[in-house]
Amino acid sequence: MNAKLVLSDGTVFAGLSIGAPVTHVGEVVFNTSMTGYQEMLTDPSYRGQILTLTYPLIGNYGVMDEDWESGEIQVRGFVVKQLCDTHSNWRSTGALDAFLKEHGIPGIAGVDTRALTRVIRSHGVMMGALSGDDLPTEDVLARIAAEPNYGANDFVKDVSGGRNYPWTEPVQAPYDTLKRFHAQEPLRVTVVDYGVKRNILRLLATRGCEVRVVPCDASPATILDGQPDGIVFSPGPGDPAMLDYACESMKAVVGLGIPILGICLGHQLMAHAFGGRTFKLKFGHRGSNHPVKDLVRAGKVHITAQNHGYAVDADSIAGSGLEVSHINLNDGTVEGMVHQTLPIMTMQFHPEASGGPRDTEYMFDEYVRLVAEKRVAMKV
């Protein structure tokens, strides 16, 4: 069965329908990672987006129960060059096509994804629709026009858990190396869920943290409930500038001296909490090969996993107490911040990887060490 991808400027890419035969509207983005399609599909930060993979052979290793990064497929649509009909891996429990169908997500194969990527690169990301049931182009364009622009949606409310819960999933390979940074009882860490990836919770748990997850609109009192030793603000989808409710709660807790970790959206919101601004990138950073320079640790460069469409305006945080700790080597944008006096560290890239390189996993070591030290200091 035929399918089509229509961009808001009228460009049409024809192909074959994979996944569910329905039509979905979203912002069309591309990711250049060569592995990790299941992690990407289930990453809540892709909410509201139609994901194109530049790597042409997708589905090779099927899908597996352990590689979910959230409870559902988050992308609105999935665009590939070739969907492999045979999958081969010892862990795989099913085929990618069936996985998409089961979750009602449309996809399209046979697209010249390189041509599509070149369009996005030169025109910037734009809205589009993936019509798995091959509706006429005019109808698809009408559907695009009828839906609000990506930036006008609060996707965080859609993906956040909506309840408090402790993270209790048992550790498993390859994330089964336990690390301890303190001798006493577990460290209590509260994660504010704007669309958290499970690997963040896993990595905290394997470092001896007792992890509690609270929803995106948790009040300061809820966040502080149970006297956490550390607070983590998670990644998530959409424009940070429209999340006033989250920003207000954040403001109330970041100055208390509790060690804070902000990742991706959590990092962007931190800039807002300190009076800074964010802006939309032309086509974002999505991939597993982004070089990030650490300005604090003698200019070391790390290869990082990234998935974001907005970035912190470096000038806007001048004098706020926050300072830039990391920059992207490709375009010089802000990749991390630290606070001059408060125990706050944030990063735009994804130290939890999954998918992507694990080079910056040590950030979790540093953060948990900070939480442990701080607790000892507070007890004294």
Binding site: S33, P56, T117, G287, G299
Partner: protein
């Protein structure tokens, strides 16, 4: 750190004659390195005994010496030229060995020549088996357990070690491979799958071995063989250029294997696990430049072993370099003269830096080229010792397209997957080649599918991953479908055939039509190849280097680029 200003003149050692077991990759690397050093304003003195190379062209270096690659000659050239530095890691093993000898003999000290790039100590650490094993143990990276034994109680001791590993990691004790040291006629070894077999093989082996010594090693036959090409600079920044997966699993030298870049059957967790291990190793060795890490990955668990490390630009680096567009030798040469990865420009995009990891949006396939057409009586069996003398590399958007291009490029008279005369092979011969690979194994796999075998059956005989086998089977099925068709195709069929890499000549044979007729149809229906760029970044950034491959897809980038 900016480029060093104390270096003015650098000597580069070439790789000498091209021999069996080595492709012409070092000429490619050496040429890149000479250009790269001259770009930095250095004067280059090149020594190579082989004049039939690009690197010895007069415009590649400031001084070219075509002289024997011996310590004596090199010493004399050093005495005459008085270079400030010597770069040995780009001339393969030859260059490396000579540099080691020059250093040990005190020649480098005497003339104040600094060894550039990876320190000698790192090279020794990587190449000395015992030292390497100890280092891997120190950093917690697994190497296959092995022991040299002379008595049965030592065999039991080794077994105890494997039992301890099993208790810790779940890795089964067997199979174990037994190799006798020096036997008459190569007998006395074998693979043991249990204690009784191990006992028998060892008893027999002790009797046959002239030194009564046996080498016992964990047997990894059939495990996935994966390589990572990694780089490190003097500031400890590390990157992966690409990874590669061998079509032929462990047991066949990677130089004799069909190799695919990037890996196809690894999940992100496996890919990153092996990437992390490779970076840990290049850091532990302290390499400054390029390095190749070979790993064996269990097809049924997360268990893996480090097989080998090449602390220099190797055959695989040349492949990785061409496969990704990332100029490994060029960057390695710059690292050797003190530059850091984030100070070197990406010569392909000219917009980004060399400190990143290439993203491929195509599939690369290498097939070795063996010289058995010239050495008629040679044993065609391939195994742990490399027999290939060359290789072809093909790029396409799909595995199918790349495989078909590569087969045609071998110049073995094959336009498609069907090898002449293979239809007459006996079942026994076919099974033998499937089980014990020769240069004709790919053709044999195709023939097995033609004769109705299915993927699990072929996998059982070859240990090749079912993903690759299914791809090959799909191509064979298409070939058979086309063979059954007679006359000109319809548009959909022709388009499908071209997207899957069938060339006009071959299609004409299969359909019983004229090649020109197919060509005309293609023109009529607009089924023409397009050209896409190898740009190191999957189109994320604009690029300036014109390096293209053909494919049957929609957009042609060539017109826009010219």
């Amino acid at each position: 750190m900016p480029k060093r200003t104390d270096l003015k003149k650098v000597m580069v050692i070439g790789s000498g004659p091209i021999v069996i077991g080595q492709a012409a990759e070092f000429d490619y690397a050496g040429t890149q390195a000479c250009r790269s050093l001259r770009e930095e304003g250095l004067s280059v003195v090149l020594v190579n005994s082989n004049p039939a190379t690009i690197m010895t062209d007069m415009n590649m270096a400031d001084k070219v010496y075509v002289e024997p690659l011996t310590v004596e000659f090199l010493t004399r050239i050093i005495a005459k030229e008085r270079p400030d530095g010597l770069l040995p890691t780009l001339g393969g093993q030859t260059g490396l060995n000579l540099a080691t000898k020059l250093a040990k003999k005190g020649v480098l000290d005497e003339y104040h020549v600094e060894l550039l790039g990876t320190p000698l100590e790192s090279i020794e650490k990587a190449e000395d088996r015992e030292y390497f094993k100890a280092l891997m143990q120190e950093i917690g990276e697994p190497v296959p357990e092995s022991a040299i034994v002379e008595r049965m109680d030592e065999v039991e001791e080794f077994l105890d070690e494997l039992v301890r590993v099993e208790a810790k990691t779940g890795q089964p004790v067997y199979p174990i491979i037994v190799r006798p040291a020096y036997t008459l006629g190569g007998t006395g070894g074998g693979i043991a799958y249990n204690w009784d077999e191990l006992h028998d093989i060892c008893v027999r082996g002790f009797r046959m071995s002239m030194t009564s010594q046996l080498l016992l090693e964990r047997c990894l036959l059939g495990w996935k063989e994966i390589e990572y090409e990694v780089m490190r600079d003097g500031a400890d920044n590390c990157i992966t250029i690409c990874n590669m997966e061998n079509f032929d699993p462990m047991g066949i030298h990677t130089g004799d294997s069909i190799v695919i870049a990037p890996s196809q059957t690894l999940t992100d967790k496996e890919y990153q696990m092996l990437r992390t291990a490779s970076l840990k190793i290049i850091r532990a060795l302290g390499i400054e430049g390029g390095c190749n890490v070979q790993l064996a990955l269990d097809a049924h668990s997360f268990r893996y072993y480090i097989i080998e490390v090449n602390p220099r630009v190797s055959r695989s680096s040349a492949l990785a370099s061409k496969a990704t567009g990332y100029p490994i030798a060029r960057v390695a040469a710059k690292i050797a003269v003190g530059l850091h990865l984030d100070e070197i420009q990406n010569a392909v995009t000219r917009r980004t830096l060399a400190c990143f990891e290439p993203a491929l949006d195509y599939c690369v396939l290498k097939i070795p080229r063996w010289p058995f057409d010239k050495f008629n009586f040679a044993n065609r069996r391939i195994g742990t010792q490399m027999k290939a003398t060359g290789e072809v590399m093909a790029i396409d958007r799909t595995f199918e397209g790349a495989l078909m291009k590569a087969v045609r490029s071998l110049e073995i008279g094959q336009l498609g997957l069907a090898m002449k005369g293979i239809g007459e092979w006996s079942e026994m011969k076919l099974e033998e080649v499937l089980r014990h690979a020769t240069d004709e194994r790919l053709a044999a796999i195709c023939e097995a599918f033609r004769r109705g075998m299915d993927v699990p059956e072929v996998q059982q005989l070859t240990n090749v991953d079912p993903w690759f086998l299914k791809k090959v089977k799909d191509l064979v099925d298409m070939e058979m479908e086309f063979r059954a068709h007679f006359g000109l195709p319809d548009e959909a069929m022709l388009r499908r055939a071209k997207e899957w890499g069938f060339n006009d000549h071959y299609l004409a044979e299969l359909w019983g039509v004229k090649e020109m007729e197919i060509r005309d149809l293609r023109k009529q229906w607009g089924i023409q190849p397009v050209y896409k760029m190898v740009d190191t970044c999957a189109a994320e950034f604009e690029s300036e280097t014109p390096y293209f491959y053909s494919t049957y897809d929609r957009e042609n980038e060539l017109a826009a680029a010219l």
